[in-house]
Amino acid sequence: MKLRFFGRLRDAIGGELLIDVPPEVSDSEQLRAWLGQRHPALLDPSVKVALDDCILVAPQPIAGVREIAFLPPVSGG
């Protein structure tokens, strides 16, 4: 599964990770918690998760998803 990180998370973790997710990790929040053990910055609730370009407002299953993006608070303009 391809994970992508943006903004400050890119510096903290890297732009992209290809990982095998254990079978007990089945939704986006479980994935966040699992990754957060190693990368605590992901546990910040202000970090949003997007599954295949859809920014989530509630946890969603990750089975079959190609790309998961972690999006910290934005700062455009």
Binding site: F6, G7, D11, A50, D53, L71, P73, V74, S75, G77
Partner: protein
């Protein structure tokens, strides 16, 4: 024109093109945002997502066009490295009457600062600092929600 630009932009040229194309408008308002050179900032680096970011800019443009009585709207935002003093964003709105054009540009800038997946990193020589939208930016953006209420 709604675009993310990986290369330097020319607000004067963009405004001239926009003005030529905005037939029937009674007024045009434009805003050019520049990289402030304060605090030793030498460069901004703007991170973006190649699909989510343009989709969000298109969505905000559609929201502005739906909300205000506009003839046309332009949003051009830089991505990548932008040197201090250089333009980072250009927004222009053309309308029959000035109020819609002023409000649309104000609305678009508030949304760009708080709702579009763009991430600014300030560079001071070798030092890097990621920026987050300020409390004031969120308060500015919330004004439009209150008006919706």
């Amino acid at each position: 024109m709604i675009a993310l630009a990986p290369h330097p932009i020319d607000p004067a040229g963009l405004l001239a093109d926009f003005t030529r194309a905005a037939g029937g408008a009674g007024g045009i308002v434009s805003f050019s945002g520049l990289v402030r050179a304060e605090g030793g900032v030498t460069e901004l680096w703007l991170d973006h997502h190649e699909r989510l970011t343009p989709a969000a800019v298109e969505k905000l443009a559609a929201a502005a066009l739906g909300r205000f009585a506009l003839v046309d709207l332009a949003i051009v935002h830089r991505v990548g490295a932008v040197a201090a003093g250089e333009p980072v964003v250009f927004v222009a709105a053309a309308a029959a009457h000035r109020r819609a054009a002023f409000d649309a540009v104000d609305f678009a800038m508030d949304q760009l600062k708080t709702a579009v997946p763009l991430w600014k990193c300030e560079r001071r020589g070798p030092e890097r600092t990621w920026v987050e939208a300020r409390v004031q930016d969120h308060a500015d953006a919330a004004r439009w929600e209150r008006m919706d209420g």
